[in-house]
């Protein structure tokens, strides 16, 4: 039953991924402006443009172009970047771990702060902690990530001077040996605590700036759903039977409440890829999102398509994971057909 559910979801995910590739491809081709002109600049001669079009197959029908594109993608070829003059795949492989680390870091913050805070607020509705949480999460949600980034910079880097302003590591610090590409993980694996500390100091601000909105969102969702849980008879049952208070809140009330929260968290993680475009720019974080900003400003079509494909891919994978986790929590999905 569970396996069938996962297969069904995976097929749906594949279809979506296919759709994303179509969308991006046609967007890049249909946009006003000749890609060849864009690539070569306005000073290019007509011959140069024609040769370039020929080389990229831009004279073929759009459908043929798409098939050629899909074929090369399947072979792991995303084309060359005009901006870096390297293959897009290499560019992405180099920059992706930095972005992934940032997003994972902020996801950890989102879960470890957002959920407990939401449970507390939901348990003690209208109490002090609930009011505090409401304001805190509201400010988190309404402040744009780049404004958070700048506020944090002003306070911790410029005013207090305790955190570095840019990059993943200080100058002169060598990245740890490559295992996952995530410096925090790799430096632990290597047992290199000095590097770990340096990498931590660098990731705190961008990670927090990226996390604030999703912490707020998670807190609000958790609070609302746990609060709703507390109105349910099964919580009254738990209390009537003297179940441990903490267990009641953290397990009995939270688990059913988690189902909608997880779905929102999945979307939030995806939205982080968008916010990363801003945060990485502020902190000069050498990740895929900053690469994305650069190639967009450079009108580098191959690189744009490659970056967006990766983002779409991750969005779909994350949501697939969320769906599967939800199906583990919610027996009604897992056991679907067996209802009496």
């Amino acid at each position: 039953m569970l396996r069938r559910y996962i297969i069904r979801r995976s097929v749906a995910a594949l279809i979506t991924l296919f759709g994303v590739s179509v969308l991006i491809f046609f967007l890049a081709r249909v946009m006003p402006g000749d890609p060849a002109m864009i690539a070569l600049g306005e000073t290019a001669t007509l011959e140069q443009v024609a040769a370039y079009r020929e080389r990229l197959g831009l004279n073929e029908p759009v459908l043929v172009q798409y098939l050629v594109y899909i074929e090369s993608v399947i072979h792991g070829d995303l084309g060359d970047s005009l901006y870096t003059r390297e293959t897009v795949l290499d560019d992405l492989a180099r920059t992706f771990p930095a972005t992934l680390e940032l997003i994972l870091f902020s996801t950890v913050l989102m879960i470890s702060i957002g959920i407990p805070l939401g449970v507390l607020a939901g348990r003690f509705r209208d109490g002090f902690i609930d009011n505090f949480t409401r304001v805190f999460s509201l400010i988190g949600v309404v402040t744009p990530s780049f404004v958070w980034a700048l506020f944090l910079l002003l306070v911790f880097a410029f005013h207090l001077n305790v955190l570095p302003t840019m990059g993943r590591l200080s100058e002169g610090v060598e990245p740890p040996a490559f295992v996952t590409g995530l410096y925090l993980v790799d430096s632990i694996v290597a047992g290199d605590w000095a590097t770990f500390r340096d990498a931590s100091a660098h990731i705190v601000m961008p990670g927090t700036a990226l996390a604030m909105a999703s912490i707020g969102q998670t807190t609000r969702m958790t609070r609302a759903n746990v609060g709703e849980s507390f109105d349910k008879t099964y919580i009254e049952f738990a209390r009537a039977y003297g179940f441990n208070e903490i267990r009641t809140a953290a397990v009995y009330a939270l688990r059913p409440a988690l189902i909608p929260v997880l779905t929102i968290m999945g979307l939030d993680i995806a939205i982080k890829f968008g916010s990363a475009f801003l945060v990485e720019t502020v902190f000069s974080w050498p990740g895929m999102a900053r690469y994305g900003v650069r190639v967009i400003l450079f009108k580098d079509l191959n690189a744009i398509v490659g970056t967006v494909t990766i983002i779409g891919f991750f969005f779909i994978v994350i949501n697939l994971i969320v769906d599967i986790v939800v199906s583990f929590i919610d027996p009604r999905i897992r056991l679907g057909a067996q209802t009496q």
Partner: protein, 284 residues
């Protein structure tokens, strides 16, 4: 109908019990008033466009310039208020395009089901798979930055949210007694969609639109921050923040005041949206 229920007393009473929502309403009204009245209430309305006064450049906040001045000596307070005009116009136009664009397919998908549903909702999934900020960035990046392009780009990637919302509501409403009753007495599909289903979607739509005013302002500011929004010298909050960010910590007042400016607008719409959600008891 909704407005009637809302302002008829009980709705307003309930809404006004929630102090946070009232505060939000205050912020929204102030935001709109500041945007509309900017030419008359700002101390230096001519600073909104290209105006150069190097003698007064880079001034920190003072009695003369409440929020300080920018690189070429323009009053930041005046420019924030004129920035509000841009934000307000942009978010209203984006929603005016995206809402009908999203509502119609959603309504049809939820009501008719079948192939139309499958295709529509798959397309929605595809559009939602990439953050709208990123898509808008790309479009503006390729087509060139201008206010019109930014609006069109955001709207083009915003409609799927409304399709999904309307789809979910319509699917639920389709099985309600009054809809079945209308079908039984032989009302046309058109009549049912427009007269029975659509009015019942209004509370959710209204709430989502209020909340989205804040998110569109955010996305627009993000575009501006990355240099892909409105072109200089038009005052835009995101690009003002970017300008100050290049000279931190020296010109702290630019990101701080322009940032607070965004925050107030976004906070207002968010609070009102939340208040409406609780009041109308809808999911969005």
């Amino acid at each position: 109908m909704i407005a009637g229920a809302f302002f008829g007393g009980r709705g307003w009473y309930k809404f006004s019990r929630n102090r946070l929502s009232l505060f939000g309403l205050f912020l929204v009204i102030s935001f709109i008033l500041m945007a509309l009245l900017a030419p008359w209430i700002t101390p230096y309305p001519h600073h909104a466009e290209s105006f150069i006064d190097f003698a007064n450049a880079n001034q920190p906040p003072s009695a003369k310039y409440m929020f300080g001045t920018d690189l070429i000596g323009r009053d930041v307070f005046s420019r924030v208020l004129f920035g509000y005009r841009i934000s307000l116009r942009l978010s209203i136009i984006v929603l005016a395009i995206a809402v009908p664009l999203g509502v119609i397919p959603g309504l049809l998908a939820g009501y008719y089901g079948g192939w139309w549903e499958t295709i529509t909702m798959r397309i929605v999934d595809v559009f939602l798979a990439v953050p709208s900020l990123v898509m808008a960035l790309i479009v503006v990046g390729l087509v060139g930055s201008s206010l019109t392009n930014a609006m069109l780009a955001i709207a083009f990637f915003w409609w799927p949210w409304y399709t999904r919302l309307l789809y979910n509501i319509t699917r639920q409403l389709k099985n309600e007694g009054y809809v079945t009753a209308a079908q039984v007495v032989g009302a046309s599909h058109w009549h049912i969609l427009i007269k029975e289903i659509l009015p019942n979607c209004v509370p959710s739509l209204l709430t989502k639109m209020t909340l989205d005013m804040s998110f569109v302002i955010l996305v627009a500011a993000s575009l501006g921050f990355l240099g892909l929004g409105v072109r200089a010298p038009t005052p835009e909050l995101g690009s003002m923040i970017a300008e100050g960010a290049n000279y931190l910590p020296a010109m702290w007042w630019l990101p701080v005041f322009a940032g607070l400016g965004i925050l107030i607008a976004v906070l207002g719409f968010n609070l009102v949206g939340d208040g409406l959600r609780d009041l109308l008891d809808v999911e969005v």
